[in-house]
Symmetry: C2
Subunit: 565 residues, 2 copies
């Protein structure tokens, strides 16, 4: 039973942790840094590293190592990490993964293989220098070390691409698909590592049994349950209170899946991740519902979890500078080299392939969770954990700016200069997504002299892989075509709006239809970025929504300053 | 530390509890019953009452009374109840309370006084029959019993009024304001009862100290902190990630406030309630943000909390039929009599005053929380707790249907028949809420021959008390006027929409401006209900949004069947 004082302390701790971690998270965001930096910093400030050194008595009153309050907080952080992995799993879209084909497979396979082999070889050769302390055998340690270097972090990568207005581009999709595949393989390898440690021994299972049962669980969830989720989702969306019904259902299944893998001996997070993958794959899971699940997990539980990490580990006492540098260099070398080579072999030009490497290099929250589990199971010690956390944050911070620097052009293409009077449809005749794309393809066929069915098919196939709604009433269906030599942009306006499955649920009132030459990767990136930039201004957006003809549409675009800093 | 098996069980329990309680909650909703009925039923099925009787071993494996898992679940339900009281507090709008003036004060004061005195007298006279078992002294028991009968449940009352399309009517506002005042006073009395039990003894405080400190906390939170929240909210809405920033801030303050009152000796829920009241009072807290907070608390935490109650108490073994009947009758008699008399004295006609009494009679979740705390502090025993839960559910189920029966007319007024061609403004000139109301007041002045400024003032004053957006692009500014003898309705259409602070954030594209005679309470109720009914049909709504003239607007209304079942 929680006593009166236990409840006081649990509530006070939650209030302080949540308040400070959100606050520092927002400060980090302000300076364009990942929020997780601020969230961990909150824990470091309140934990043994700072408060525990400056005012040990106060620290002990606030965060006592008393059994009951700690257990209650631990229960919460367990739920938090389970929800984080659920969200990571939901972001993985298996169906669109296969459609990306060879290039994505190359990027992700080499992006795992290179860092894994590098990490495995290095830690097997110099185990003690890299932090092996005899908690397990060297093989397990090296396997973990390799996995830790090769894991990726889909949610943070998606966030970086979104901030750069690149998420909907072909390059964005390639990176997302590769990272998804990377994560999936990475967590499967990690679950094997966990079973080798013998985490299933509590339930009398040996590693072999754990591996076999885990494979059965994974296959069953990704086939039978995936199909069942797909069937039941539309019913839930329609018949239950939104979003409560779906949230309750998704969370209940996640918890049961998590409990199942914990019982099999590979930790709860794996089950949550696999259930998330199975759920996220359904086309019936709308972007809006995905967003609610993500918000729920990320706003309250993620800050608590990361703050809790800073609270438990003394970052100052476990700061080993040489180890940090080596871990960081190994991680970057392996990942960037592997992914860039994969992209290059997949046919992507020089600078862009390097940008893909840096994009995939971000480790974010996944690395930290992986490290924490390894720490709890005694595979690594605290110094290596601190090095992994710093590596995770460092690679995440590096990712966006370097990509930006690699792919931004001096004189980027502007939406305004690409639309011709004949390319503006002031009032679309059709009202659903595929019809409107057909209508615009027809108009684009006039402009290019190409066959409209061919254009329609290219754009619609692309739309199927990942929706192109930007939210706030804008959508950007697009494709790259071998047959054209310069970009073609057609804009359609819809008074009522067309459902493009936007994250904010708003129907698209302005559909910007973009065709670019297959060879010129940069053109698409630039145009998409410009569309996102221009229409992020509410005034331009609203004027454009009302534009009855070409001239007033161009006037609307002119309200946006040409260069922003 | 939570062990491997503890984590398995905690996750499994959460999954099962959440899944079953959401499922049964949805089933209850399907049959137009409060969801809390289904949620508690889930706990009863999984707890000692059913599963514990049918399969005691399985029940012990799933829900063991092992210290660690129980503590983790307890931590979660503590947070759940704190969040429930936060939401209850947020619904209370102090500023609009005062504006409701004498009638609301009469309804709420008599609505507390009657059941309280009835309960106090009855339990003081026949303490043992009503479940007194010597856990405390008779005075404390009787004080609690009186409070338990007089508490109200704002959230569930608001929900009932919304389902009946009455929330935005004058009667709806009166009931909401009265219930808010009722809750506030009820919880303050209850906090005094808790301090009398000596809940503050853990911290070496006697009851007097607890009372004085609690008053200081309450006054400070409702003045200084309320002002500070009001100042900081716009900054949070603008500068932080929505809704994460605000959620984090609100939750952090709630937890700290809850910890503070727990430490003072009046239980955490009181602090959460008062902090909620202080936050909810700010005009800067948009309906949309309120909705996110409510969703967060109600979708996951509320089902867990109510299921947990069924899990802990054996409802079959503690089912005392005579006690249940007496508690139910005392509660209904006191509350309905008190509120109806108050409404009658406040100048409200016969049937409507009785409807107000039944509306206020719903006890919902608040009663259950109050009862649970009393049970934990040893003030009451389990039989009385079960009687209170059943009374809470019974009064809630009764409330809607009886109100419906009392105020529905045989031939209700229809929106369609009330709008004249001159009363349709096909395109409003103004774009913000007060300007548009002025524009429509001007049009209504033409129709009624009254002064437009007078009409404007009446409607705008009403709008200030509680916004009239119905969501989905509809708003219904309205007022009752002494000077007219028949209802007057004017409709304005806005292409871009006007911000009426709707819960879904959608701007109002159709503004239905309703004036009714002061004496005829029913007219307003009927017209508002009809507007809500008609525009709940997406087709009618969309046609009406597009109507360029009076005839096509009326055609849009005609698409809705006249009578629905």
């Amino acid at each position: 039973m929680l006593g009166t004082h236990d409840i006081t302390i649990v509530l006070l701790d939650l209030g302080i942790l949540l308040g400070l971690s959100r606050f520092l998270g927002e400060v980090a965001r302000r300076y364009r840094q990942p929020m997780v930096v601020g969230e961990i910093a909150a824990g470091i400030l309140l934990g043994p590293t700072v408060l525990g050194t400056l005012a040990p008595e106060l620290q002990q009153i606030l965060f006592p190592i008393r059994a009951n309050t700690l257990i209650a907080l631990e229960g919460l952080t367990t739920i938090a990490v389970v929800l984080l992995l659920l969200v990571a799993g939901i972001e993985i879209n298996l169906s669109s993964l296969w459609k990306q084909g060879r290039t994505a497979l190359l990027v992700s396979t080499l992006g795992i293989l290179f860092p894994f082999l590098l990490g495995f070889a290095a830690s097997h050769t110099w185990p003690h220098f890299l932090g092996f302390d005899g908690g397990t055998d060297i093989l397990t340690f090296s396997l973990f070390f390799g996995t830790a270097l090769s894991i990726s972090a889909l949610p943070v990568i998606a966030k970086t691409l979104m901030d750069m207005n690149l998420l909907k581009s072909d390059m964005g999709i390639l990176v997302i698909a590769s990272a998804a595949f990377n994560d999936l393989i990475g967590w499967i390898i990690f679950s094997v590592v966990l079973s080798l440690i013998g985490a299933g021994a509590v339930y009398g299972r040996n590693p072999q049994q754990t591996v076999i049962l885990t494979i059965i669980f994974t296959v069953f969830t990704l086939t039978v349950l995936r199909w069942a989720f797909h069937k039941i989702l539309p019913w839930l969306e329609k018949k239950t209170v939104w979003p409560g019904g779906i949230l309750g259902f998704v969370f209940a299944f996640t918890m049961i899946g998590a409990a199942a893998t914990q019982w099999l001996g590979v930790h709860a997070v794996f089950g949550a991740f696999i259930v998330g993958t199975a759920i996220g794959d359904s086309k019936h899971l709308t972007e809006r519902t995905k967003d609610v699940i993500t918000q729920f997990a990320m706003n309250i539980f993620a800050p608590l979890f990361f703050a809790f990490i800073g609270l438990r580990i003394n970052f100052a006492a476990n700061f080993n500078f040489p180890l940090i540098i080596i871990v960081f260099l190994l991680a970057c070398t392996g990942k960037i080299l592997g992914c860039s080579l994969g992209a290059r072999w997949g046919g992507i030009a020089g600078k862009e392939s390097l940008a893909i490497g840096f994009g995939m290099n971000a480790r974010g929250a996944m690395e930290i969770i992986l490290g924490l589990l390894a720490l709890e199971f005694g595979v690594i010690h605290e110094q290596l954990f601190v090095a992994l956390v710093i590596m995770a944050i460092g690679t995440t911070m590096l990712s966006g700016p370097v990509m930006e620097w690699l792919i931004r052009e001096k004189k980027p293409l502007k939406l305004m200069h690409l639309i011709k009077p004949a390319g503006f449809v002031e009032s679309l005749s059709y009202k659903n997504r595929s019809d409107v794309i057909m209508e615009l393809a027809y108009r684009a066929a006039d402009e290019t002299g190409l066959d409209s069915a061919m254009i329609y098919k290219a754009v619609w196939d692309r739309e199927q892989i990942m929706g192109t709604a930007l939210g706030a009433g804008i959508a950007v269906p697009h494709a790259r075509l071998l047959e054209i030599t310069a970009p073609v942009v057609v804009v359609g306006r819809s008074e009522e709006g067309v459902d493009f499955n936007a994250i904010d649920g708003a129907p698209a009132k302005l559909i910007v239809f973009i065709l670019t030459p297959t060879r010129d990767q940069g053109a698409q990136l630039q145009i998409l970025a410009d569309v996102a930039r221009v229409f992020s201004h509410p005034e331009a957006r609203n004027e454009a929504f009302k534009a009855q003809n070409y001239d007033s549409f161009i006037d609307a675009l002119k309200t946006v300053p040409d260069k922003e800093t």
